[in-house]
């Protein structure tokens, strides 16, 4: 799969292959794996686009980017115009070009995909976004400030989208971020080799240059409550606080030393940069034999970080088979190339520790796939008597996260669903409280960066409508009096 030299090819049904760092090299560094298209490659790939009159790809995009239009601009070598076209709908293109699951979204609907390979829309988006970053982002402030204040809680993909969209409309937006740096999952979750943190920072800088204020180290619910934000004079609040505490397997030995949640492992490695320890002071303790529990993108990110940190063997333990893995195919292939071993149809039953309370074994039971459920997904069933123990010295549990509970528990009248997700109107993003909106993982459950951005777009639009309506009422109070 990995080709060092790729030449633009003529076959309309094949995508221009992408250059990646060779596995032998990339497993020893944290630099980006996928190197992106050259101009020549991008032009060749763009030329494959049919520029459909009724583009299906746009329907697959949660934020509705006009895909054929930006690709047409690439064909005409108008890269600046192409990025401007994307930014009409998406404020974070360099990020989305890298981490969106395009094969499930825009590219899934591409007509070329019916017979051959879809146009590599994500790689083209990344190409123009990177062109712009190299030149320096051009910020045009279109609307004059309307002087109205909106607070955004959480500087992840949802919050950044709301902030950018409202700033472009002239609102004064303040983003409150609990951590010391903006970006949310883009900085604490997704590793450097998939999404360089300089790229995230550049996109955050862009949002800041739109006039958005960032206030880090602010855990809302504790530092200020939502009611206090409204009392301070913010006319609307958007809650995008994302995923919270790790889900646990609830099996014996889970609190042994050496058993990490994927969140802790990735926060240490990515946010605190412990891959640069001790230059960065936050340590990571990693053994030689690592097991990662789970089959999603987070599990793969953790496994691939463990490879790069020098583990001798990294095994992914997943209770179903490769076909059921929720992770992106591309990333599964990357992980395979990097030497990650997959142990399918195996479910952990117990962690075994030594006298010092350090994990030394992972007991698991083998599974077989049962009948498909209503959703067509085969549920794994344990095979009696198949228990075995795997030698491990580090385990990373990556089986999902629950919503962060702090805002919900400190905001009166904010309705939540089972599991603590904030209840919203799907059409508007409004919560049970007036002037309070929510989106991203806190309101939808765990999902992708782009779907968080999509829900942010909906909320931004609703906040704008709400505040416009309020303004009309404020301006014309006499009408009802007469």
């Amino acid at each position: 799969m990995s080709q060092q030299v790729s030449k633009p090819i003529q076959n309309k049904w094949q995508a221009v292959p992408i250059t990646k760092q060779e596995p032998a090299r990339r497993t020893k560094n944290f630099q980006e794996v996928v190197l992106g298209y050259s101009e020549e490659e991008a032009l060749a790939e763009a030329s494959r686009c049919l520029t459909c009159q009724k583009p299906e790809c746009v329907k697959g995009c949660p934020v509705g980017v006009d895909v054929p239009a930006f690709i047409k601009l690439i064909k005409e070598n108008k890269y600046q115009e192409a990025i401007a076209k994307i930014k009409e709908r998406n404020s974070l293109p360099a990020i989305c070009g890298r981490v969106c699951p395009q094969e499930e979204q825009c590219q899934k609907h591409c007509l070329l995909g019916k017979k051959g390979a879809s146009v590599s829309i994500g790689l083209l988006e990344r190409f123009v976004a990177d062109c712009e970053l190299k030149k320096g982002i051009n910020v045009e402030l279109v609307n004059v400030s309307n002087g109205r204040n909106v607070a955004v809680v959480g500087a992840g993909p949802a919050g950044l989208t709301v902030a950018a969209d409202l700033a472009k409309l002239g609102y004064k937006v303040t983003v409150f971020e609990a951590l010391h740096t903006a970006g949310g999952v883009l900085v604490y979750g997704i590793p450097e080799f998939r999404l360089p943190k300089d790229i995230v920072q550049a996109e955050v800088d862009y949002v800041e240059r739109l006039g958005v204020k960032f206030r880090s180290d602010s855990l809302l619910g504790r530092l200020y409550t939502i009611d206090e934000l409204l009392a301070k004079g913010f006319e609307a609040v958007f809650i995008g606080t994302g995923a919270g505490l790790p889900k646990l397997l609830n099996i014996p030995g889970e609190n042994l030393c050496g058993v990490y949640s994927a969140s802790e492992f990735l926060i240490r490695v990515n946010l605190m940069k412990s891959y640069k320890f001790p230059e960065y002071r936050t340590p990571i303790s990693l053994g030689k034999k690592v097991a990662v529990i789970g089959g999603g993108n987070v599990a793969l990110d953790a496994a691939r970080c463990a490879v790069r940190l020098g583990a001798e063997s990294v095994k992914m333990v997943y209770r179903r088979t490769r076909d059921e893995m929720p992770a992106r195919e591309e990333e599964i292939l990357n992980a395979e190339e990097e030497g990650v071993i997959f142990k399918f149809l195996s479910a952990p039953t117990q962690f075994i520790g030594d006298e010092q309370g350090k994990v030394k074994g992972l007991q698991y039971v083998e599974m077989e796939l049962g009948e498909p459920d209503q959703a067509g997904r085969h549920n794994p069933v344990p095979i009696t008597g198949s228990e075995a123990v795997m030698d491990v010295d580090t385990v990373i549990v990556a089986i999902g996260r629950t919503p962060n509970p702090i805002i919900q528990s400190t905001t009166k009248g904010l309705k939540t669903l089972i599991g603590g997700i904030i209840a919203i109107d799907r059409e508007t993003g409004q919560t049970s409280l007036e002037a309070v909106y929510a989106g991203g993982d806190i309101a939808t459950g765990e999902a992708t960066v782009i779907s968080a951005m999509g829900s942010g777009k909906i909320a931004a639009n609703s906040i704008h409508n709400y505040l416009r309506g309020k303004e009309e009422k404020d301006v014309l109070p006499a009408k009802t009096a007469i």
Partner: protein, 292 residues
């Protein structure tokens, strides 16, 4: 309409004091945190750009002048680094108040058992309990008399006051738990016992009160990274269930806590901790242990 005032993050150290050879106190300008702080809560701070996030208990705060007081023992690289900051210097990142506040009400008679730097966390709790009408008996201890901190402050909020030192250099020779045991044996009927200090001390206090069924609360200090309900590093077993000290705590029912596990988990990164200090010495960085 108009501008909304939000406090800028600008956490400057206004005062600094060496309380004993290992323990320092800093007073930091942080009006927004001071305005919201309650007994039992903590902050997470990061001294420089490359530093660790370190959880530290709030020892005091002044809402009117907008300051918070942090007391810390220089035990590892990160706290030594913090201790090297001088008056007028800024702490790069400071987030708080974090954690659930103590449940402050009139329990009746409360014993406040504190050890070492844990006394810093005990003081606001004892003060709040005293103000709520409790009769507060303080038992504070340290290895020797030089390591005792906040004696005057603790006395000022206590109805009865005892000191122990391991070497007998001040107060009673022995442990805080010995005094507590004696008081209970001699009819000191406590409605609640609070214990804040090293895990081993909290465990022993818990063992002392358990046979008598006295409600005992401990403030736990596990390893944390974000401290905001995300990473799960701070998980502790309480009554056989996993709890997260940063959002479910830091205070828990002592009789339900698995202290052995807590103590083991605190050692998770001890090898790496040593390495940080060694490597930085090798790199020829100035040793910050004795500066300022």
């Amino acid at each position: 309409m108009g501008s909304v005032q939000v406090q800028e993050a600008n956490y400057v150290i206004l005062e600094k004091q060496q309380l004993n050879p290992q323990v320092k106190q800093i007073i930091v300008y942080a009006p927004d945190i001071a305005a919201k702080a309650q007994a039992g809560q903590f902050v997470i701070l990061k001294t420089h750009k490359n530093s660790e996030r370190v959880p530290l208990t709030l020892a005091a705060w002044e809402k009117e002048i907008g300051t918070i007081t942090i007391i810390f023992q220089e035990v590892g690289y990160s706290t030594i680094e913090l201790g090297a900051l001088g008056v007028g210097e800024k702490i790069e990142n400071l987030a708080g108040p974090l954690g659930k506040p103590s449940e402050v009400k009139n329990y009746g008679k409360v014993a406040m058992v504190c050890g070492g730097v844990g006394t810093a966390a005990s003081y606001p709790i004892a003060k709040a309990l005293k103000e709520a009408g409790n009769k507060v008996t303080t038992i504070m201890g340290a290895r020797n008399k030089d390591l005792l901190i906040l004696e005057a402050e603790m006395r000022s909020v206590s109805d009865a006051f005892y000191i122990t030192t391991d070497d007998g250099s001040k107060g009673q020779k022995g442990f805080v738990s010995d005094v507590l045991k004696n008081l209970i044996a001699n009819g000191g009927e406590f409605n609640v016992v609070y214990a804040v200090g090293p895990p081993i001390m909290m465990m022993v206090v818990s063992q002392v009160t358990q046979p008598f069924g006295i409600k005992t609360i401990v403030s736990l200090n596990p390893i944390m990274v974000d401290g905001m309900g995300m990473c799960g590093a701070c998980r502790v077993s309480v009554g056989g269930k996993t709890k997260f000290a940063c959002v479910d705590g830091p205070e828990f029912d002592a009789h339900q806590v698995n202290f052995k596990e807590l103590m083991q988990r605190l050692k998770s990164f001890s090898n790496e901790e040593k390495l940080t200090i060694q490597v930085n010495e090798k790199l020829g960085e100035t040793c910050v242990c004795h500066s300022k």
